[in-house]
């Protein structure tokens, strides 16, 4: 039997007295895109780095492609592709040579590497920039180049640590499109992000991580249904106006109310919120929308600043 791409049981990581990863367990399945969603400092990147064997496992069990990161890091790294959070392209080398030098680290023979790199540059729309210095590339191009670089060894698992942070909307959508294409080809992907739309776009399954633990896991659709409700009503009105409406909703099964400063969020699966929205008939005061991952996330992790 083929071992799962990643399997963790009670995975732990401490930095001094700070517990960054606190006993998490999960299994990534062959060919899926598995997302770690969470605020900064949740332990996502630390988990990813343990999987990538660039940070030693602190405790618990971790298997990557059936191998032990404690003893077989080189064998694991040979079969992973990594898109790091920070831009780590080699500024001393032009675009194409960045990939050639990187392929050499994996011991990919020159002729094979050259062929793959040409294909990859075409795929990521970088052929025209092949001889440009990296500093000439836009943010989106750099990201695409980093993704192209992560494919030089034809990895079995692609690990993406916040792949679109800092990109403009056009560039993000282009990166997403490329990643969906890779997923369609059957590449297993691991992704961390704090962008909810990114997780919704790309992930088959995801976990919501907070303070080193998982708060919830499932596919994006189920998570929204379970934690946000099908619709969300946002009431933007003064305290006196909202009081009778809240009175009306209180106690109805499946309705959750959250007051945050000047907005009231009403989460529900039924009809009561819809009726209120129809009655008020002013979206500026009562705005009805589908639930999304952001609702799930904020409900689970709280709305206070985390830093």
């Amino acid at each position: 039997m083929i071992p799962p791409p990643v399997e963790a049981r009670g995975l732990v990581k401490n930095f001094g007295s700070f517990r960054a990863v606190d006993g998490i367990s999960f299994t990534v399945r062959q060919g899926e895109c598995f997302g770690f969603l969470g605020p900064n400092g949740a332990g996502k990147s630390t988990t990813i780095r343990m999987i990538c064997c660039t940070s030693p496992v602190g405790g618990g069990e971790l298997r990557v492609l059936g191998l032990d990161p404690r003893r077989q890091s080189r064998a694991i790294k040979a079969r992973l592709g990594i898109v790091p959070q920070e831009d780590s392209l080699d500024p001393d080398l032009p675009v194409r040579q960045n990939l050639e030098v990187y392929a050499r680290y994996y011991g990919v023979p020159r002729a094979i590497a050259s062929e793959r790199i040409s294909e990859s540059l075409a795929l990521f729309q970088l052929t025209e920039k092949a001889n440009s210095p990296v500093s000439d590339l836009s943010g989106g191009m750099k990201r695409r180049l980093v993704i192209a670089r992560s494919l030089v060894n034809q990895p079995e698992i692609l690990v993406l640590d916040e792949p679109t942070t800092g990109l403009d909307p056009q560039a993000r959508h282009l990166v997403w499109q490329k990643l969906r294409m890779l997923r369609a080809k059957g590449v297993t992907m691991l992704l961390t992000t704090h962008y909810m739309d990114e997780a919704a776009h790309l992930c088959d399954r995801l976990v919501i991580m907070h303070r080193g633990k998982f708060l919830a896991e499932g596919n994006p659709h189920d998570l929204i249904r379970d934690y946000a409700g099908e619709v969300v009503l946002e009431l933007r009105m003064g305290h006196d106006d909202r009081a009778p409406l809240l009175g009306e909703l209180t106690g109805i099964d499946g309705v959750a109310i959250e007051e945050v400063e000047d907005i009231v969020y009403i989460f529900e699966a039924g009809d009561a919120a819809r009726q209120i929205a129809a009655r008020i008939a002013d979206p500026a005061l009562a705005f009805l929308r589908p639930g999304n991952l952001e609702d799930v996330f904020l409900r689970l992790t709280g709305r206070g600043l985390l830093d």
Binding site: T54, R74, L80, P84, L93, Y105
Partner: protein, 264 residues
């Protein structure tokens, strides 16, 4: 403590890192060449011929000839130091080059070993160039007295490794680029002036000679002096052993320092 007791985890990856630096060098050599080419001429002219007119050594030797082993030791030292102190720090901290490399099947030990081998390469190329300059100028300046001087090229591997390793040790501790001024002013610059390159040690007071013994460059200079003259003394074995032993120690410390820094 585990960082210092671990055996080096090495592979062909060290060579790949060396290749990376070589490829970058092939792209950038034009900008760096001029300094390397001109430097020894300036020193030979200014110190060897200029200051040398006023210097009478008790050995009767011409000052420019006395200076030659120092040139062969110092400039390669600078080449290794610039590559492995500033250069390594930039690749480690600013460019994240090391982070990118250790995500591949290349270990931290491979990276550091490759960097040190590259620093050594630059030092040796530099030493070879200065030796060629000295040989070309020999009919006028008599800087090289024996064909044994050619042995300096392979010998320069060892100090090249040593100065690279010392530099990496410091880079592994540095928290900001500006801290390198400490390294330069407290380590490299004193070594440059007091490493036995500019004045003979044997006429200095005893305490100064003892101090000089602790400076790595002194031993390199003494070793090269013997080979340039073709006069061999037993103490040269001691000089070589000193440099080789220090190389081993600093290589080990460089690995430990960078593991501590990069593996968290």
């Amino acid at each position: 403590m585990t960082a210092i007791t671990t055996r080096p985890d090495l592979s062909a990856g060290s060579y790949r890192v060396w290749q990376r630096n070589r490829d970058v060098q092939f792209r950038l050599w034009r900008t760096e060449l001029i300094g390397v080419v001109v430097e020894p001429f300036v020193v030979i002219l200014a110190l060897g011929l200029g200051l040398g007119q006023f210097v009478k050594l008790s050995s009767g030797e011409e000052y420019v000839a006395f200076l030659t082993p120092g040139l062969l030791a110092m400039f390669p030292m600078f080449a290794a130091v610039f590559e492995c102190a500033w250069g390594s720090y930039v690749r480690l901290e600013m460019q994240h080059t090391y982070d990118a490399i250790i995500a591949t099947p290349v270990s931290v030990d491979d990276v550091i070993t490759g960097e040190i081998l590259w620093g050594m390469t630059r030092a040796t190329v530099n030493a070879a160039y200065i030796l060629i300059v000295a040989i070309v100028l020999n009919p006028w300046l008599h800087m090289v007295e024996s064909p044994w001087a050619l042995a300096i090229i392979p010998l320069s591997f060892v100090p090249g490794l040593l100065f690279s390793a010392i530099s990496i040790c410091f880079a592994s501790l540095a928290r900001a680029m500006s801290q390198f001024s400490y390294f330069f002013n407290l380590v490299i610059n004193p070594m440059f002036w007091f490493g036995g390159a500019f004045f003979p040690f044997d006429e200095l007071p005893h305490w100064a000679q003892i101090l000089g013994w602790f400076i790595p460059l002194t031993h390199v200079v003494e070793l090269y002096r013997g080979f340039l003259k073709g006069q061999f003394e037993w103490s040269m074995i001691g000089d070589f052993a000193w440099v080789a032993a220090a190389t081993f120690v600093f290589y080990w410390l460089a690995l430990a320092g960078m593991r501590r820094r990069m593996i968290q």
